[in-house]
């Protein structure tokens, strides 16, 4: 029984690992191939099956004039837009969530839960509904095809996620903790900053992670709201495609674009394994 359990455990771990790692290996090897090795049958092992070259990677940094696509600028654009929008969303979202969790709002029939739902409903709507309003809105304030415009739009998209996660989190932090902070001489702002926030780090991390992921992978709005001045990575990668599908550079760009998320995942995993996500608040 015990041996069977161990066998099954490792069996499924191996299957799952293959499932997760195989695409990466495929992309990695493909990124070093040329036209011949991609189309000439199944090949896996460099130097044995095929002769590796760096052409796929070089295309990503070469300027268009020299036959490349140059994803460096879009890459940093994407990083900048995602991080800025996520940070602002987290700050605004956390503050709104705290207010929604602790204070009672009432305007006619609109109450706290309705306001919370209003935030979430922004994500329920299909993005295409918002595309034309956003386009007109940005063009009217002259922010089409600019980083600022993208950040504004991304805040609209990401803040609901932060609000949603943080309201739920703050509701689980006992109100008595805030009250004790007030009794111990904190004003409401200090109580929030010194007591509630330090105990909400796990929630902040989860919310931040979701914001970064959703910001980073967005293609739709980046495609609609930018033209030539500013380009984001997902849009630029599509531009790689031509009459002959360049599998090698597509693979390389896929690896490059997934890298930040992997780094974020590793950092969070470190934090998780230290046991910091559990037990902070009963």
């Amino acid at each position: 029984m015990n041996k069977l359990y161990i066998f099954l455990k490792y069996f499924f771990i191996v299957v799952w690992t293959v499932f997760v790692v195989a695409p990466f290996l495929w992309a990695l090897t493909t990124s070093f191939k040329d036209f011949q090795s991609v189309n000439g049958g199944v090949t896996y092992i460099p130097w044995v099956d095929f002769e590796p070259n760096l052409e796929g990677w070089k295309v990503l940094i070469k300027s268009p004039a020299r036959g490349g696509v140059d994803i460096i600028e879009p890459y940093f654009n994407s990083l900048f837009v995602t991080c800025t929008a996520s940070l602002i969303s987290i700050i605004l979202g956390t503050l709104s969530a705290y207010a929604l969790s602790r204070y009672t709002f009432k305007a006619g029939f609109v109450k706290n839960n309705d306001i919370t739902f209003f935030f979430i409903s922004q994500r329920i709507m299909p993005p295409i509904v918002l595309s034309i309003p956003f386009f007109l809105f940005l063009s009217s304030i002259n922010l089409l095809d600019s980083l600022t415009g993208l950040i504004v739009v991304y805040i609209v998209l990401l803040m609901p996620i932060a609000v949603w996660i943080m309201v739920d989190f703050f509701n689980k932090v006992p109100r008595e903790i805030d009250e004790t902070a007030l009794i111990d001489g904190c004003n409401p702002y200090q109580a929030f900053l010194k007591v509630v926030l330090p105990n909400s780090i796990p929630g902040l991390i989860v919310a931040g992670m979701f914001c970064i992921i959703f910001g980073w992978i967005d293609f739709f709005f980046a495609f609609i709201l930018t033209f030539t001045e500013v380009q984001l990575l997902p849009v630029k990668i599509v531009a790689l495609n031509s009459s002959v599908t360049p599998w090698w550079s597509l693979s390389a760009s896929a690896l490059v674009s997934v890298a930040p998320l992997i780094i974020v995942a590793f950092i969070v995993e470190r934090y998780l394994s230290k046991g910091n996500l559990s037990g902070a608040i009963k």
């Binding site: 007030l182 009794i183 001489g185 200090q190 007591v195 902070a280």
Partner: protein
């Protein structure tokens, strides 16, 4: 510096949490707020702390309008029934928190925190995380944090209710020592509880609260000996006082075919239409020559046996300082120590007590 409240009312929904509560708390005294759950004890304490604003009424402290002072400037301390501490700080930092908030010198903070740790018996635990402590220890940290501030008003909201029996006894004993050790020289201590025994042991001034209304105010002994109404008698006894519907005539108390000679303090009562006789569960004893009752339930709690008895429509609870085994429907004989009986009017007011209290 006295804490005076005048007609505090708070009614957030269709029920009064506080209903015209007035009091006059003097410094250096211990006040116990006794009441059942949802009687408004926590609301009252939170109002004093400033966490709630009453709908109407006034609170004055040291002659100044207390309601205009925000919580963080009131210099009060509060211990909750749930063990509330700051989970992100260790024991030392938790206790030091209110002092740091006041920007006190580091070395002074260290000294004061160590003193507080000593007084709650947690020396050596400074570096521990809150989550690593047991419930009793967490509550001690919480108590230490409230002691360290030298607050003028110390509020304890059922601090022992979530602890297990043994710890409760132990901590109650420590509380008594702490309170008597001069801590209370200039502090107003307000302690809320549902447990009459705790009230009697702490032996302070008692405020009996029910549905947001103050029913009776007085020293613990006075509340115990002369409850001014049926409700107070119920709240201030555990198990609740037995209430027997009876008639008094010709110096006899009659109920369920039992005829008892009225003791002196009840003999003057002449109400024919009925009285309620109150008798503590400990004032009834087993007696071979007594009156026959049927056992409905016998529960053993600690070294005590609680017998739920029935005769006709009269149900009573008897507590016996012994572990005894009875079966349901057993017939047993009991004797009433009728000279310890209370009498209440039909409207619930005290008619006569064995200790001479009378406010009929």
């Amino acid at each position: 510096m006295d804490l005076v409240a005048h007609k505090l009312s708070y009614k957030p929904d269709d029920q009064y949490h506080l209903n015209e509560v007035s009091f006059n708390f003097k410094e250096g005294n211990l006040y116990t707020i006794l009441g059942r759950t949802l009687s408004g004890k926590t609301t009252l304490l939170k109002t004093i702390a400033g966490l709630l604003t009453p709908d109407s009424g006034e609170i004055e402290f040291d002659g100044k309008n207390f309601l205009k002072v925000p919580v963080w400037e009131r210099n009060v301390a509060m211990v909750y029934q749930q063990f509330i501490n700051y989970p992100h700080l260790n024991v030392f930092e938790n206790i030091a928190f209110p002092l740091k908030q006041r920007k006190i010198d580091q070395s002074v903070i260290y000294e004061k925190v160590m003193d507080a740790l000593k007084s709650v018996g947690l020396v050596g635990y400074e570096k521990r995380k809150i989550q690593e402590l047991s419930g009793g220890q967490q509550q001690r940290v919480s108590l230490a944090r409230s002691l360290v501030k030298n607050a003028k008003i110390l509020l304890l909201d059922e601090p022992l209710v979530n602890l297990d029996y043994k710890l409760r006894e132990q901590l109650r004993e420590e509380f008594k020592n702490l309170f008597s050790k001069g801590l209370a020289d200039e502090t107003i201590l307000i302690y809320s509880t549902t447990d009459p025994r705790e009230t009697m042991e702490l032996n302070g001034e008692v405020i009996v609260l029910d549905e947001g209304k103050v029913l009776q105010v007085g020293p613990a002994k006075e509340i115990f000996e002369n409850p001014n109404s049926l409700k107070v008698a119920e709240i201030s006894n555990d198990p609740p006082m037995n209430i027997i519907e009876a008639k008094i005539s010709d110096n006899n108390i009659k109920f369920e075919g039992i005829n008892l000679e009225a003791p002196q303090h009840l003999s003057k009562l002449t109400e024919e239409d009925g009285l309620k006789i109150g008798l503590r569960s400990s004032d009834i004893e087993l007696n071979e020559n007594g009156h026959e009752f049927e056992v409905e339930l016998a529960e053993i709690s600690g070294s005590e046996t609680l017998l739920h008895l029935k005769r006709g429509n009269t149900k009573i609870i008897v507590s016996i300082e012994e572990v005894l085994n009875f079966k349901i429907h057993d017939k047993i004989k009991i004797n009433f120590k009728i000279d310890r009986a209370y009498a209440f009017h039909v409207d619930g007011k005290l008619a006569s007590s064995p200790f001479g209290g009378l406010n009929g």
